[in-house]
């Protein structure tokens, strides 16, 4: 009987360890024996939950290195005191939730962050508030991590000393979802990040780019909002980029773009809205992009396309109330512009198939003139300029002859 009891006890104990419902809980904070978060983490076993009570924890370089659930109760503040990283995660399957992480260090030598994620797998960072960190979330060599629903704010005022909101480097399969980022250098920055999803983020009022990536193949961007960033969005040297249903708004300035695509190949850009940008879409050296079903409204230039781009298909887009629809810098055109709606189209549709019978030439003579002599923009909308444009439309001489939409739509497409 006694042996049976012992065996039973061992079995129950084993079940207990395996069962997450009875996994250990460690409390940190006032009224508990554990006073610091680091000590709480040290005391916990993998699979445990560490609950941190409300309060201010002046800690930095907190090391989270095991698979625990670290959860703050009504946003306890972790104040890094302007020294080093606030928290370093080096774990597999850890979760960080519900903290307010502020005041990381600032350095010209090291990239210091609110949360530094190194060599991690399956880590989730969700529902946190980041305030006044150099980099808010910085990941390196990590895979399959989720950064979700964080409020990220900073007060950057120069591009050298300040860092990015979500900065990923050499990572794979990252999920950046529903974050609200403002006031950093770049909102979201990817370098060598592959197979990742950026979904439902809002990146605004950053002092450089809302989104910035390089060498980051096979990533998808869905339903994000990028607005009022000093230089808009710039993405470079990447293959297989897909961007769906994003908003690019209010990016004003000589070097500001709704989105600047440089050396991007094989992607789809669809369902996006571009409003009130100086240049909505600037395409340089890109190949085989499919740009369709986008709306370009009230931009200075809807599309600037360089002569070095090849085989891009621009179709079924709406171009409404833009100052200039398309501008280019050469005469070579190796891209297709067939089947868009242009509000400046003045043709007719005799056979009533909804498509214009004469081609539309989206490049006006004057946009070509401005390209070579920017100061002449100030003569725009004067009578002499309208006359020049009308003449050029009848007898194309300077604008590229084959940049035209053979079958423009007569009515805006329902997008």
């Amino acid at each position: 009987m006694k042996t049976l009891r012992i065996v039973l006890g061992i079995v129950i104990a084993l079940i207990g360890v395996q069962n997450p419902l009875v996994a250990g809980k460690v409390y940190v904070g006032k009224g508990h024996p554990v006073k610091t978060i680091q000590q709480g983490i040290n005391n916990a076993q993998p699979g445990d939950t560490v609950l941190v009570e409300k309060g201010v924890y002046k800690e930095n370089e907190i090391k989270l290195n095991k698979a625990i659930y670290l959860k703050g109760i009504s946003f306890p503040v972790i104040d890094g005191g302007k020294k080093g990283n606030v928290m370093e995660i080096h774990a597999k399957g850890a979760v960080l939730e519900g903290f307010r992480i502020i005041n990381s260090g600032q350095s010209e030598m090291h990239d210091l962050a609110g949360v530094l994620l190194v060599d991690s797998y399956g880590v989730t960072i969700k529902n946190n508030q980041f305030d006044n960190n150099t980099y808010s979330i910085l990941t390196q060599h990590s895979r399959n991590c989720t950064i979700k629903d964080n409020e990220i704010r900073a007060y950057a005022n120069n591009e050298v000393l300040f860092g990015n909101g979500v900065h990923c480097w050499r990572s794979d399969s990252m999920y950046i979802i529903g974050n609200n980022i403002s006031g950093h250098r770049d909102g979201i920055y990817f370098e060598f990040v592959t197979n990742s999803l950026v979904w439902r983020n809002i990146s605004r009022k950053n002092i450089r780019y809302g989104l910035h990536f390089m060498f980051s193949n096979n990533d998808t961007y869905i339903a994000n909002v990028f607005e009022k960033n000093e230089s808009g969005v710039a993405v470079m040297y990447t293959n297989n980029v897909n961007m769906y249903n994003n908003y690019f708004n209010d990016n004003w300035g000589g070097a500001a773009f709704g989105i600047l695509l440089k050396d991007i190949s094989d992607g789809e850009i669809s369902g996006n809205y571009f409003g009130h940008n100086t240049t909505a879409l600037d395409i340089e050296g890109c190949n085989r992009l499919k740009i369709f079903k986008n709306k370009f409204v009230n931009n200075g230039y809807a599309i600037k396309i360089s002569a070095s781009t090849l085989d891009n298909e621009i179709t079924r887009n709406n171009f409404i109330s833009n100052t200039f629809d398309v501008a280019t810098n050469g005469t070579l055109v190796a891209n297709s512009f067939t089947g868009n709606y242009w509000d400046k189209y003045e043709g007719y549709d005799l056979n009533k198939d909804g498509r214009g019978d004469i081609p539309y030439r989206p490049i006006s003579l004057y946009s070509t003139i401005i390209e070579s002599n920017p100061a002449s923009l100030m003569l725009f909308r004067s009578i002499i300029v309208s006359l020049l444009d009308k003449t050029e439309k009848l007898l194309p001489g300077i604008t590229p002859e084959n940049l035209k939409d053979e079958k423009p739509y007569m009515k805006p497409l329902p997008l």
Partner: protein, 255 residues
């Protein structure tokens, strides 16, 4: 002065041409807003109307009117009235009635379809252009007694400001392409009342495109409150100076 002014205004309003002008403006404005797919496009078409048609009608109508009322003017001169009063009353009557025509013809439709800062600037610029070109017409009348010559001068002045000036500026821009011309362009636009009003409207309509590098210089100047005030002050100068010159020649004129 009040009496003459009243008489001139009544005379002009009874004149069918101003009524036709008002109706024409109203017709164009309404059709532009109803036919174009968006109100913004309507505004762009209206801009051409304001920069081209309004100055032309104002300058030609005023010139002809002043010549045609030369007998009436002579009669007034023989009365114990100051020449300045006579001339300014004529000017005031023409400017008031043509501005009224513009307000009814363009101002009302714009306020109905596009009541925002862009619309307001458009109306204000149109009003200023109306008065400026009445003043320019008086200048042309002051130059010569011959009616045909006077109308010729008026049309030449209109052609210069509407077309030739901008063509010259464009030519200069390309001749001096290698130099920074932004500030020179700001100064240059003050030499043409049509350009001054066009730039004001452009800043409202194409602000996104103007935010580019060159635009920045312009926006900083014309976009600021002082800039707006200075440019409307510039338009005011364009009313006053030709009027003073014409007044001087009218005072010396041997009737």
């Amino acid at each position: 002065m009040k009496k003459i002014l009243k008489y001139v205004i009544v005379d002009i309003i009874q004149n069918k041409i101003v009524v036709i002008y008002t109706a024409l403006l109203l017709l164009i404005s309404l059709s532009v807003f109803n036919l174009e797919s968006s109100a913004a496009k309507g505004m762009a078409s209206l801009l051409n109307l304001i920069l081209l048609v309004v100055p032309l009608v104002c300058v030609i109508f005023s010139t002809i009117y002043v010549y045609n009322s030369s007998e009436f003017t002579e009669l007034l001169v023989s009365q114990p009235l100051k020449r300045k009063t006579i001339w300014l009353s004529l000017f005031g009557g023409l400017a008031t009635s043509l501005s009224l025509a513009f307000l009814i013809g363009v101002g009302v439709p714009v306020m109905l379809y596009h009541a925002d800062p862009t619309g307001l600037v458009l109306i204000l610029s149109g009003l200023f252009l109306t008065v400026v070109f009445v003043s320019i017409a008086f200048l042309a009348v002051g130059w010569t007694r011959d009616k045909a010559k006077g109308i010729g001068w008026a049309i030449a002045l209109w052609l210069f400001f509407a077309l030739i000036f901008d063509a010259l500026v464009l030519f200069l821009l390309f001749q001096f392409q290698d130099y920074p011309l932004e500030n020179a362009m700001v100064v240059m636009s003050f030499f043409n009342p049509i350009d001054l009003s066009r730039v004001q409207i452009l800043l409202q309509m194409d602000i996104s495109a103007l935010m580019g590098y060159t635009g920045a210089v312009f926006r900083e100047f014309f976009g600021s409150t002082t800039g707006i005030l200075i440019s409307f002050f510039g338009l005011l100068i364009w009313i006053v100076i030709p009027l003073l010159f014409s007044l001087r020649s009218f005072k010396r004129k041997d009737m």
